[in-house]
């Protein structure tokens, strides 16, 4: 649903994928017990080891019956639309076919040649990649800094900071976007008031969204603000797994603060950092809601990222096939990152 925030959103953001990510530390801690029953030699726990096999023989169909509803549902809402996206992008589904229910004509690769030959598509792709890169770098850098900072705080300050992070994290995307739209309002927004008051510039009535660079600055602030809590809290959870004895030993051996971080702390949190970073790449590449909502549901062409470009082609120009083709290209662009993420998960024993 909401794959922003991280989000969520998603967690968004978001939201849903948030859960998969937030679980990382929980899962890494449980994999040890998880592996027990499945170990092929199983000498460690004799009697318990036999049980899964026994049930396998007795009710070989039972697990399949249990997963059947989930499989059917996922096939209907994920697999089928994906297949349909592929089909649609080789057809030409417009408004007429949608309402009459006629079969749309097949056009082969025409949608793709049109899109790839359109210079706007390349602008949009470049903008999306740049936007994603800025968001990910800012989110991960600030998130890591906050996590490291949280370790060094007195208990009550850490508590205050955690509450602030969770308050920010729990804002629904729609609400968060409304707040930022209000903060950046041209007439009565707080940002303009503060700039006018403290910098002495005449910013009253300044419209932040006239210039896309400034507009994107507001959007990036919203995205990064929404994503920091998840990154910081997850990385902090990983940091608590760093053995304090090791850090102390390194200090005694003469390592400076950076050395301790580089050779003791970083190797422990690296897997979690990479996973959160990969998720951020995917989420920020798919950012849709933040831009869409800040631009009042009708983003100008210069605010379009790939998701919005596909959306406006489909729903504004009612060329659903063009929209599908763009969505398909997005999926292909992201599939490499997704495969990398899953490989990381398998490597850390998450998929057991």
């Amino acid at each position: 649903m909401q794959r922003d925030k991280r989000k969520v959103s998603h967690v968004s953001a978001a939201d849903t994928t948030k859960a998969a990510g937030a679980e990382i530390p929980v899962q890494t801690a449980t994999t040890v017990t998880d592996r027990g029953p499945s170990s092929p030699d199983g000498t460690r726990r004799g009697p318990a080891q036999g049980s899964p096999r026994r049930t396998f023989k007795k009710g070989a169909l039972l697990p399949y019956l249990l997963i059947l509803p989930a499989i059917v549902a996922i096939a209907a809402v994920y697999a089928y639309p994906l297949v349909k996206t592929v089909i649609l992008s080789f057809q030409d589904l417009g408004r007429r076919e949608l309402w009459t229910g006629d079969d749309p004509p097949w056009v082969g690769f025409e949608q793709f040649t049109n899109i790839l030959g359109d210079s706007e598509f390349w602008y949009v792709t470049g903008r999306t990649v740049l936007f994603m890169a800025v968001c990910v770098v800012l989110t991960m850098a600030i998130g890591l800094m906050v996590a490291l900072l949280m370790q060094r705080l007195t208990t009550w300050v850490r508590l205050v900071l955690t509450v602030a992070l969770i308050a920010a994290w729990s804002m629904p995307l729609m609400v968060a976007a409304s707040i930022f739209r209000w903060l950046a309002d041209s007439d009565y927004g707080l940002i303009n008031t503060l700039i006018a008051k403290f910098a002495g510039e005449d910013f009253l009535g300044h419209n932040w969204f006239l210039n896309p660079w400034q507009g994107f600055a507001v959007i990036i602030a919203l995205v990064v603000w929404g994503a920091i809590p998840f990154v910081a809290i997850t990385l902090y959870a990983a940091l608590t797994q760093v053995p304090a004895e090791l850090e102390e030993a390194a200090q005694l051996d003469g390592a400076n603060a950076f050395g301790v971080y580089r050779f003791v702390t970083w190797p422990v949190i690296k897997p979690v950092f990479i996973m959160v970073g990969t998720l951020s790449v995917i989420w920020d590449f798919n950012v849709f809601g933040q831009i869409w909502l800040l631009r009042g549901n009708k983003p100008e062409p210069e605010y379009e990222t790939l998701g919005l470009y596909s959306y406006s082609k489909a729903f504004e120009s009612t060329s659903f096939s063009q929209g599908s083709a763009i969505a398909l290209i997005t999926v292909l662009l992201l599939s490499g990152v997704a495969v990398y993420y899953v490989r990381q998960l398998i490597k850390t024993g998450e998929v057991e």
């Binding site: 649903m1 909401q2 794959r3 968004s12 978001a14 849903t16 994928t17 948030k18 859960a19 679980e23 929980v26 801690a29 449980t30 029953p37 318990a48 049980s51 096999r53 396998f56 697990p63 399949y64 249990l66 989930a70 209907a76 994920y78 639309p81 994906l82 649609l88 900072l149 060094r152 208990t155 205050v160 900071l161 602030a164 992070l165 920010a168 994290w169 729990s170 804002m171 629904p172 729609m174 609400v175 007439d187 009565y188 008031t193 959870a237 053995p243 004895e245 422990v268 809601g289 869409w292 009042g296 790939l306 998701g307 489909a314 969505a327 997005t330 999926v331 997704a338 993420y341 998929v351």
Partner: protein, 298 residues
């Protein structure tokens, strides 16, 4: 992680606090950290503060070129205007119908699948897990167009069931993965001993596994509920009638061609965010207990 990890979270607070006593210079540096920490807390919490303050301050202060950080007086006028905005009650109704049905249905299906994945070794188990993780990464627009076209063909546009089915399934992938995490933490031996004592497999589930799984299920349902509650894009595209709008789409009606009634918008937003914040505080505790219980066991 290394084998020594389980004990570290417990001892972490100790060594960090000790040098403070041994070496007084540490105390000074910690003050800097604390100030920086409080500063970040203020920045992160500020938008939330601004939401609440704007919801509570009189409207003439909102439509003023001189925004002040503190309200001069507190009023509930904005909330009154928000509640009088047309379709508030139907929006609450729609949101509750859609999200509750979707969450309950989703949890039943997800628990069944999570039990299968957590308790049985069957062919296709790992690929299924990978698929569950991968589908969460699909861009929403890649699903929006075909789902819109399909629901249109099936007459499901502007109907609750279309949205319910969609929300139900979108909660599945993470709910299955999450509940599975709780299932593998319940020792098989408990279930087996119940069965040795004469329970059927279903009886063992109901009497042993389910009570132990309940906190995990609660956490997963809250996550699912929050996601359904926060969703706005599909709700906006798939529902056309004003009286079928969900709360998030209802919030969009505060912006008209004549401008935005920010006071009422902030009040409405506060009302919508409040349950989510409460739920988040609950889950956060659950996530923390999940973390520590996992650590003790490992």
């Amino acid at each position: 992680m290394s084998a020594s990890t389980p004990t570290t979270p417990v001892t972490k607070a100790g060594p960090a606090a000790e040098p403070q006593v041994l070496r007084p210079d540490r105390k000074k540096s910690r003050l800097h950290y604390n100030i920086l920490g409080l500063l970040i807390a203020v920045v992160m919490a500020f938008p939330v503060y601004w939401l609440i303050v704007s919801a509570l301050r009189p409207n003439q202060e909102i439509r003023s070129y001189d925004q002040t950080l503190w309200p001069s007086s507190i009023t509930f006028d904005n909330f009154k205007r928000a509640l009088n905005q047309p379709n508030f009650d139907t929006a609450v109704q729609s949101t509750l119908i859609v999200s509750l049905t979707a969450v309950i249905g989703g949890m039943v299906i997800a628990t069944l699948a999570a039990l299968a994945i957590g308790r049985f070794r069957f062919f296709g188990r790992k690929p299924l897990l990978v698929v569950l993780i991968l589908v969460q990464m699909l861009p929403p627009t890649a699903m929006l167009i075909p789902i819109y076209a399909q629901l249109n063909a099936m007459g499901g546009l502007n109907e609750y069931w279309g949205l319910i089915a969609l929300y139900l399934v979108t909660t599945l992938p993470f709910a299955v993965v999450m509940i599975r995490g709780f299932v593998v933490n319940i020792p098989v031996e408990l279930e087996e001993s119940a069965m040795v004592d004469g329970c059927t497999r279903f009886g063992a589930f109901m009497r042993v596994v389910f009570p132990l799984l309940a906190p995990g299920l609660a956490a997963a349902s809250i996550f699912a509920l929050v996601n359904a509650w926060n969703e706005y894009l599909f709700a906006y595209i798939l529902m056309n009638d004003n009286d079928k709008y969900t709360l998030n789409v209802w919030l969009m009606t505060f912006t008209t061609e004549r401008g935005t009634d920010y006071g009422a918008l902030m009040a409405g937003s506060t009302l919508i965010a409040l349950p989510v914040v409460v739920f988040f505080m609950i889950i956060q505790k659950k996530m923390a207990t999940g973390l520590t219980s996992g650590a003790v066991k490992g």
